[in-house]
Every structure is written in C-alpha cells, then in structure tokens.
Symmetry: C2
Subunit: 196 residues, 2 copies
C-alpha cells in the first residue's frame, strides 16, 4: 500500500463510510448540501471537496450548531463556498433549487447539545424527499441513522420503509451496517440516483 | 457534477459497490488477490488498478474460469501483473505470502458454468481466514455473497457468524444490502483491517 492509500481514514462508524463515498463522488465545483450541520464535520469535508468554485448549503435548527460549524470552517479556511441557514432540513427546497451531487443527513440530536431537539419522522421524510428531487444523476444522498435518541425507532422504521419503496429503476438504495458491533450502532443509508 | 464523476459506475449490485471501494483503496504497485476469478471481471479491475508494477494472484478451481479470465485480461492488455492459479481459494496461503491491499471473493457458482461447482462453508471460511492473515493495515477483504446456489443459506450464515465474531479493535466489518431490491439480492461483506 502506498502513501496515498495510507492517508485513508479507517472505516469505523457510519460517518467514516459516508466520508469515503463523498470523497469518491464529490468534485471541485459541485453543489452539495449538509442537511444537518451538527458540529460541522460533514460540512467541512463537503467544503474541502467542492472548493472555492463549488457551493455548500448547510442547515441546522440550532444556533449552537451553526456557530460551531462556522467556527470550524473559519479555522480551516473553508468558509467561502458555504452558506449556513438556520432552518430545519425539511425546508431545504425553499433555499436550494440547483441540482446537487450530494446531500448529507445525520439523524438524531446534536452531539453535546440538547437531547430534546431531535429529528422527527414526518420532517425527516419531507427533507429526504426534498433532497431526492434535487439530486443529479449519479448524485448521492447519505443518511447516518443513529438509534440513541427518543423516537429513533419510529424514525428509523420510517426511513427504511421510505428507502425500500424507492423505484429501483430510478434509485440504488443501500443500507450498510457494522457486523461486529452492537445492533444499536449507527448505520448508513445511501441513495444514489441512477442514470450517470 | 463534472466529467470525472460522470464516469463513475452506477452502484447497482454488490459488485458495483465492491468496485467503488477497490477504486478508492487500491493503488499502482499494490499486491492484491482475486480469490474467485469466475469470468474475470474483478481480476481485470484489480489488474488495471495495480498496473504493471503491481501484482494480482487470481484463483479458480475451474479451467473454464481461468481461460475466460486470461482471455479477458489479454484482450484488455492487462495480463502482465496477473498470475492465474488453478486452485480453490482455501489454498491461497500456499501461493501468496506477500502483504495484500485487497482480496476479492465472489461466493457462488461460475456464471454460465456448472452450478454443481459452488463455494462451500468450510473451504470458504478457511479462505477468508487465510486472506485476513495477509491483509495490510487499511487493506480490504470484499465478499460478494450470492444467495442463489445450493447450500447458499448455510454458507451465508457461516460468513455472517465469522464476520460478526471478528475483533472490532482489529477489523471494521460491514454488510451492505440493497434496500429496494428483493432480500435474495446479492450483498457485500467488507472487512477492513484497522491501523492504517
């Protein structure tokens, strides 16, 4: 294995797998969305991948999350392609109309934040459908599903039913789970729009 | 999405996902194994990725499979890094002793070949363990699991039990399934050796 491959992040956890897929698919100049900024780690990767000629829209309901994300992006010198929006992910379509290469979701509460503020099935499904409408052929929707918060089981079921109902002629839908970790470990749902 | 991303293959099927992961991880000069050549499609990708300075060992029990693979590699001008070996995948360790970046398995029968000649749980587990012993940190074992052949359920169970028992400190183990296709659709098991 050469130096280039040695730089790869170990595929431990749903976010690591999500990041591998983003690195593989997102290119300089692309338009992408972080539907749930949280502490800004996904937003940062997206900003690095699209670079100054691309565009990232980052959503979060909580000022605390947007502040943390802005701080991280500023520290890394990556704020220029990013627009941060204080709104729930279900309002994505009000702010973004351009075709997208990737949309990233983390379902659950803000790590270190208020555990009462969580994503909910109805708004999550609205958000996922809104994201799907904007995907380019070959574009990816990446959903890290956490099972730790109140109502997670209901939300999880809603996402799995939604994903299993997507037309296989139009979308490739994958669930990836870690086989040697507890069944409650976060997992990844990937939806790829076909036709690339 | 730019031209580079537009070249990506659609993630339809376990082999497509496996190929994305191989493209992301395998580099020129690497050492890799195709444990089950079949019609040679995985061997071809591996040969293209490692190039003339790398090395690919390709195994199959059937002359028909090795002939098809040799023909494909020759037609594509990629035969030089490849050594084709007529032996079951469980004998991998007899022929390969170098550390590996990737080992690819397809469990099941040769497409278009004799459906009586299939992979079997005992030899499959021996082969998987043999492959694991040779993986470099960051190296990947990619197993496309088919459910169509005689004894597939038993083999599938054996592979899942094996994977779920691997030490999470040493290996990241993932199963990826297509959510909007029948539960009998082939799926992918990925084992990554940690420590890269």
């Amino acid at each position: 294995m050469n130096q280039d491959s040695a730089q790869h992040v170990s595929l431990r956890g749903a976010v690591a797998l999500s990041h591998l897929l983003l690195r593989q698919r997102v290119r300089a100049g692309d338009r992408v969305v972080d539907a749930t900024c949280g502490n800004g780690n996904d937003t940062l990767l997206l900003a690095q991948l699209v670079g100054p000629t691309g565009r990232v829209w980052g959503f979060d309901l909580q000022d605390r999350a947007l502040d943390a994300t802005r701080e991280l992006l500023t520290a890394e010198g990556c704020l220029s392609p990013v627009e941060l929006i204080r709104a729930g992910h279900e309002r994505l379509g009000e702010f973004v109309t351009e075709p997208l290469t990737a949309v990233v979701f983390n379902l659950g509460y803000l790590p270190g934040g208020d555990k009462e503020v969580v994503t909910r099935p109805v708004t999550t499904l609205r958000a996922l459908n809104g994201a799907l409408d904007l995907l380019l052929p070959g574009g990816m929707l990446l959903v890290a599903v956490y099972t730790g918060h109140d109502g997670a089981t209901e939300e999880e079921k809603a996402v799995l039913v939604w994903g299993s109902g997507l037309d296989p002629k139009a979308f490739n839908v994958w669930t990836s789970r870690q086989l040697n970790r507890p069944p409650t470990a976060p997992y990844l749902v990937l939806v790829e729009k076909r036709g690339a």
